[in-house]
Symmetry: D2
Subunit: 332 residues, 4 copies
Amino acid sequence: MSVRFAVLGAGRIGQVHARAIHGDREASLVAVADAMAPAADALATEYGAQVRTIDAIASADDIDAVVICTPTDMHADLIEQFAHAGKAIFCEKPIDLDVARVRACLATVESTQATLMVAFQRRFDPDFMALKERIEAGVIGDVEMVVLTSRDPAPPPIDYIKRSGGIFRDMAIHDLDVARWLLGEPVATVQAAASVMVDPAIGDAGDFDTANVIMTTASGRQATINNSRRAGYGYDQRIEVFGSKGMVSALNTHESRTVVATRDGYTQPPLQDFFMSRYERAYANEIAAFVQCVKHGAIANPSGNDGLQALILADASLQSIKEQRVIHVDCD
Amino acid sequence: MSVRFAVLGAGRIGQVHARAIHGDREASLVAVADAMAPAADALATEYGAQVRTIDAIASADDIDAVVICTPTDMHADLIEQFAHAGKAIFCEKPIDLDVARVRACLATVESTQATLMVAFQRRFDPDFMALKERIEAGVIGDVEMVVLTSRDPAPPPIDYIKRSGGIFRDMAIHDLDVARWLLGEPVATVQAAASVMVDPAIGDAGDFDTANVIMTTASGRQATINNSRRAGYGYDQRIEVFGSKGMVSALNTHESRTVVATRDGYTQPPLQDFFMSRYERAYANEIAAFVQCVKHGAIANPSGNDGLQALILADASLQSIKEQRVIHVDCD
Amino acid sequence: MSVRFAVLGAGRIGQVHARAIHGDREASLVAVADAMAPAADALATEYGAQVRTIDAIASADDIDAVVICTPTDMHADLIEQFAHAGKAIFCEKPIDLDVARVRACLATVESTQATLMVAFQRRFDPDFMALKERIEAGVIGDVEMVVLTSRDPAPPPIDYIKRSGGIFRDMAIHDLDVARWLLGEPVATVQAAASVMVDPAIGDAGDFDTANVIMTTASGRQATINNSRRAGYGYDQRIEVFGSKGMVSALNTHESRTVVATRDGYTQPPLQDFFMSRYERAYANEIAAFVQCVKHGAIANPSGNDGLQALILADASLQSIKEQRVIHVDCD
Amino acid sequence: MSVRFAVLGAGRIGQVHARAIHGDREASLVAVADAMAPAADALATEYGAQVRTIDAIASADDIDAVVICTPTDMHADLIEQFAHAGKAIFCEKPIDLDVARVRACLATVESTQATLMVAFQRRFDPDFMALKERIEAGVIGDVEMVVLTSRDPAPPPIDYIKRSGGIFRDMAIHDLDVARWLLGEPVATVQAAASVMVDPAIGDAGDFDTANVIMTTASGRQATINNSRRAGYGYDQRIEVFGSKGMVSALNTHESRTVVATRDGYTQPPLQDFFMSRYERAYANEIAAFVQCVKHGAIANPSGNDGLQALILADASLQSIKEQRVIHVDCD
């Protein structure tokens, strides 16, 4: 049996998930909703789905699961609506920019026993999965340090920045989740530094574009995150995990596996510069994992709580910068 | 308008092409034929296609193009049948193991003005395409040497070897085509060496498993091919093109982009070891190119003549070994 | 004219400098001093030098320069003695573990107008020099982040740890100097995290073996240091500098430039695991730079002040850990 | 006891060997001879040696060994003179361009029981030695193919070309020796292709600048050599050995271990472009091996016979091109 999907929000990321659903043999795209009718129409037409309202989807018998790709400020309300409607829910990060709202939303999810997966697609990247597998196989011994380098090719529009919740809640949140996923222990402390190096307009919007974070666990494991909103050479996404016996690294993805050698040197192409191509397989794997979770009643992973924890760490990073000190957090 | 396909032969490579057709927005899989009913059923079911006989496909109004994936000895007959039937034809290599039979078949294709593309999928590999693009952009100046390393992860079954036409017609033929594609000039001479290092049974079957070829063009360009039927570390597929200003190389594809560093060293995973995963994107691109060719009446590339030329070079390689001398060929 | 040297302290690092002096065409080793007579004898014999007392060296007419490789607690006194004696001075880091003592010593150096170079050999590593040259050529635009990874192959003996001043003054001090060298602006803030992951005995000695540091400059540039006392795969020494136009990295040095490919993957040897072989050329370049400085009266670089600044940053790192907050420093 | 050396010929390669002798703790440079007095003076002065005539060196009591770096046409005569004089002999390749003359010379060496080492310095390159060590450790199983890429950064002057004996005797001879060293079995057949792609003047001089060679052994092992007189990206020196269990490769040496990443891609510097810097350590190791051989009466390796065998293979390569066929050789 195929899992029957509706996609809520037909924008860029909604299109990514629609394609992944279409490509999955155990999933089918039944309906699309978007406040912008042309966007909804276009996406529905492309995959032979219907355009419906959100409420119609919530009450439909032929929908098993929804993918929430709307603006962030609708996420929590929609999660609650579809939890009550008995649909499985896959929600883009973040659940909300406010921790209290997230907690309330997750309480509803728990009371309704709804299935909720939060979209941290990096956990499904084949290279990152291979890295995690090596750690779990014991190849590097006990984890001691997680070193994450995560730099966007170019900053988003200032309007996006203003609504984004800032670099920690919008961008670093992926890295904070990856750090949690790899550390193997709850984060106990957070400290961060941030500055505006890329575009003064980002500073004018009250945000940063360049940041470093250090986290520690109770046993002394450490994780660092190095973020920039603009890397001239593409979308820089590296993981390095250092342990008692060695180190495992996930390398970047270049535009092609070619090298040109001339008097100017040996040159490989720059990195893939778009998150949708860089993480194309991750998005497909992520939907496939959600489909299995819906079909077999497994616990969603990453869960709503994973979304909450990453947000707590993002908030702690920002607090650390404001207060110029180490922040102790109570995470799991 | 979608190009409507039938796949003839539901074996391993037929499945590859069926998947590529399904994934192409401008193509649809309508019918499957195979002498083995269960194989035909399984493939047709997977993609919602019908099982039909070859003759029914030839006379069908709802079929625009066929993909020929049958045993080699049926290729030429089927090409002729479908050329007369007015279908566009995509045929797995080789057209035939016999040059005279290939020539006769191509004469029919020409007289019927049929569209025929021969399946040399490597020309559609994204890394190899990027390499070719660099050459055409003039980055390495004039081509002087093409160096191809092409080693299978493991030899095929002996029964396959016996029917294969030998290492040059079965395996090196891909490299011979790539060499032609990159040299930019017709091959004028061929010389080769071959031996049995991997499995004596291959020698007993009258074939070789280890070979080197040198080709030259009239102006002095040289191409070399290094083949083995068994590479312990995976499917080794490298191209290096050396020119007056520099060199461009296409690197191998590892199982993942990870590195483990321990006291034993820095280890990347072995190479992808299956041609279908290694060339997954090449197969998709190849079908997409054929679809465009069918839709827009473009000349198929690689053409039937490309299949012929590669076969002539394979035969010359074998002749060179038998006669222990350089063979002059009349190629284009 | 050759610069005539005495080496004070015939231990491991004294031997490194003696070899560098011997190999420099513009330098000669005249005398060696060491409280341990056999060590002094052995080193003097190897290079045809004489064994002398420190006082004899200070008053000798045939000595232009001294290399101070004694235990750290003698450094400042010896610098002062030889500054008054009119000799050029090359001193192993650190000048002293106490900032006030360093300041007093540097005041003497200034009042005597002595030449003093402090041994931060990494500035003379050919790869790091090439990296710096690219930055200065503008290739990466304005520096925004300096990312240093610096991990020893194995911790030193606990007795050494106890006398070392701790991980920041003993080990990170090299990285703190490299960060200053590459940031291009004075460090304004320091924050750090540290833990004991490698050996509890290091913790018992009041030290750490695993640390991360973040520094910022007034304009917002950031530098990070990632330290461990034990890397299973060798001596890990990497620099990455990220700027407005791109990034430049200095890679590690493996035991050899070979790769073995088998079913277990593609394996390069581990890293060189000894600082003397890893930095062999850096030590030679460093002495050569000092020789030029002595011959031509140039200002020594890195200077005594560079030694002081790195120590201030090491102290600030430690203070940050104790006080769990960002430390503002007044550096240049 | 130090081995006391005279260097015959104070040109570029003579200077390389003089430096290696000076840097070896068990060797000393006593005398230099060169028909050009200023060259002899300069080299002798640099290392505190005397200028002497060749005959004076032959009859001197304070000379144990000579390094022959004169023009090629003097090599065989000098070997014979110093064999009779009872000196150990280290001779630059080739012994002579004529096989018969080499055989006669080696007969004299044998009858006088002289120690003769031929200068194939690549056998002493640390990376190539590490590669050989892996083969001997059985890591790649039985050797099946040796693939050598050897391209000079730029062609030598035409005058040099004219006296050189041609690309096979002058340039490929190093690769032919390396192939012999790694194949583990005598070469049985040789076939080659060559052309003029770099400079027509090389063709006018009767030589080639671009070549490929295939060799086979009786058991079917194969070795290939890919040569060009001009590689735009530096001095390209790669070895790949493929065996029943895997492959071992020696990588190139770049100007530095740095990478610059910008919108134009990831760029490493070009290769070291001078044989003296590329093989600096090989030259030092080579002299060190010769010194041990002289001190301990070990058999020189590579021997005079190794020089002869490589010359036979070079001649066979040329014959193969002229006769357009495979040449069978009787080598050991």
